[in-house]
Symmetry: C2
Subunit: 335 residues, 2 copies
């Protein structure tokens, strides 16, 4: 394949000039005439700079790794979409890793980080990220962004309007007259879980309900886990008339559990879930959700690694704000 030196020869200039033309270094001088000659040579020979050489020289690879808990999960996929969009604009490409894939994958990633192949690292997921990866990222000072995953490392954390979302969801149920509202939360101890819990409790408190009387169970953001957790919730509290789910997937799992228990949605139990999905209105009970700025979170993450991670350790993506999307999983309680 044609290399820079070939272009230089074809255009009758030195390679330095070609480099300047390519990188559009406007501060450095190259006459219009030669610039045109060089550009013609580039076109003629279908030249493209060797990425490895550029990376070696500049220590900028244009690569950002994104670690997702599970690509198949539509909620996370939406984050990825946002990241894609932003990456395209910033001239970056995205390396995608599934944190569930296992050790080989983690080793490969660690090798890339150690080998200076990454301009940044975006981590989403609840914490099953290889220590080697984290350690390497820290020592090599790779700009790292955490998406909700509050790992205990020194990196910038982007959060969603978690409290507001849970508040909105809970308040919606309250407005329909519900008083016995259970909570199907996300993983216990995580920062965003705590925030949502705070929103849930605030809404309850404002309605004059003692949050301590309202049951909470925790669940991984997956369908099966949601089913299991919801059974637990129902088992201990058969008189609930409504459930706030902190994740759509666990809400979907909850729908199964409710079905198995012979409870109708929304007639027997109402449900509101955080995060929207495209197929929400074709579910067994068209699901009322609170949409979150996931796309924007993905965008922001790439933006940050591109522009340089700020000193601020905690950042929030709160636009657009969490918005309630009413479908038909909420009704007035009949008990």
């Amino acid at each position: 394949m044609a290399k820079l030196a070939d272009i230089a020869r074809a255009a009758g200039v030195s390679s330095a000039v070609v480099s300047r033309v390519i990188n559009e270094d406007r501060t450095l001088r190259v006459s219009e005439a030669t610039r045109a000659r060089v550009q013609k040579a580039i076109k003629d020979l279908d030249y493209a700079p060797n990425i490895a050489a550029q990376t070696l020289r500049s220590s900028k690879s244009g690569l950002v790794a994104v670690i997702l808990h599970d690509v198949t999960n539509p909620v996370y996929a939406e984050i990825l979409r946002g990241a894609q969009a932003s990456a395209a604009q910033n001239g970056k490409a995205l390396l995608v890793f599934d944190s569930a894939t296992g050790a080989e994958s983690a080793n490969r990633l660690a090798a890339m980080i150690g080998g200076g192949a990454l301009d940044g690292l975006v981590i989403q997921g609840a914490g099953e990220v290889s220590d080697l990866v984290l350690a390497r990222a820290a020592t090599r000072k790779i700009p790292t962004i955490l998406l909700q995953a509050d790992l205990d490392i020194d990196a910038c954390l982007i959060s969603l309007p978690d409290e507001a979302a849970a508040d909105t969801a809970t308040r919606h149920l309250l407005d329909h007259g519900h008083r016995r509202i259970g909570c199907l939360a996300t993983v216990e101890g995580m920062r965003f879980t705590e925030s949502r819990l705070a929103g849930y409790r605030r809404a309850l408190g404002d309605a004059g309900i003692d949050p301590r009387d309202s049951p909470v169970v925790f669940s991984a953001p997956e369908i099966e886990a949601g089913t299991e957790a919801c059974s637990r919730l129902l088992g201990g509290n058969p008189d609930l008339t409504a459930i706030v789910c902190f994740n759509v997937l666990s809400a979907i799992g909850a729908m199964k559990a409710l079905g198995d228990a012979g409870r109708q949605i929304p007639d027997d139990v109402s449900i509101v879930a955080v995060h929207d999905v495209p197929f929400a209105d074709v579910l067994k009970a068209p699901l009322t959700t609170v949409a979150m700025p996931l796309f924007e979170m993905g965008q922001k993450a790439i933006q940050l690694v591109s522009d340089g991670v700020p000193d601020t350790q905690l950042l929030a993506v709160d636009s657009p704000p969490p918005t309630l999307i009413q479908r038909r999983s909420v009704a007035t309680p009949n008990r």
Copy 2:
């Protein structure tokens, strides 16, 4: 960061020896004593080879780009999961591009291909891939695998057991006594659409039904497109008692259309869809599907670019075979 020369110095050997130790070149001679010294130095300095330098030298980057039509689509995401698994085992990392993301993204990809940064290219999607990308991949002789996307280029194409899947789906409806079975197909003219159509028609023919009497409409594999196409299908053929959908997402769209038209599933109209999704049984009507080896297709694709693309132009992933998953979207026709 530590580089190879640093290790060499620390271990008191030349850099060539270090390189041999790292690459475990068993044919070349290095005494156990020095090998140990070198390995200790590597550990002590937390050394990792610079990827860019390796790539520059060897012209092997360990990177494979995967172009998906839309990451958010759970069907494609499943392919990605398979690719991930295989990539991890073959020491490769995956660059993921959304073909819907636009021109900047395509240009970036083209630059990477031209710049020798890719060991392979896997393309899924119906054809909206930049010509520049395709042209570059061809001239640079990048191993390219097509996943159903039958672009008109010289590359290896992997297909699914399309005919069998459509046959299975159709036969299931036939077995329940349906005779007026419409088809909500995928994009017209694509090879895999034709194969599925062949399966659909074969099953019909075997049951003594003239396929020409059975209506077919085409649709992109997306929810909205499915809704629109299904309305068309219904509009022209109000007496249909069942529909075979060539894609779950269009099937979900169809469920909306059916709902809007006041038809109950499965009481008024039965549905079977190709491809399974995790939330199929919590849909308005628990959806009977034919699961396809999508994960395996993703795996195979990476396997092929790793091991070298075979001369064979057409490959099929047919294990596990398409399997019918019965839920409750199919009933005996009542008319």
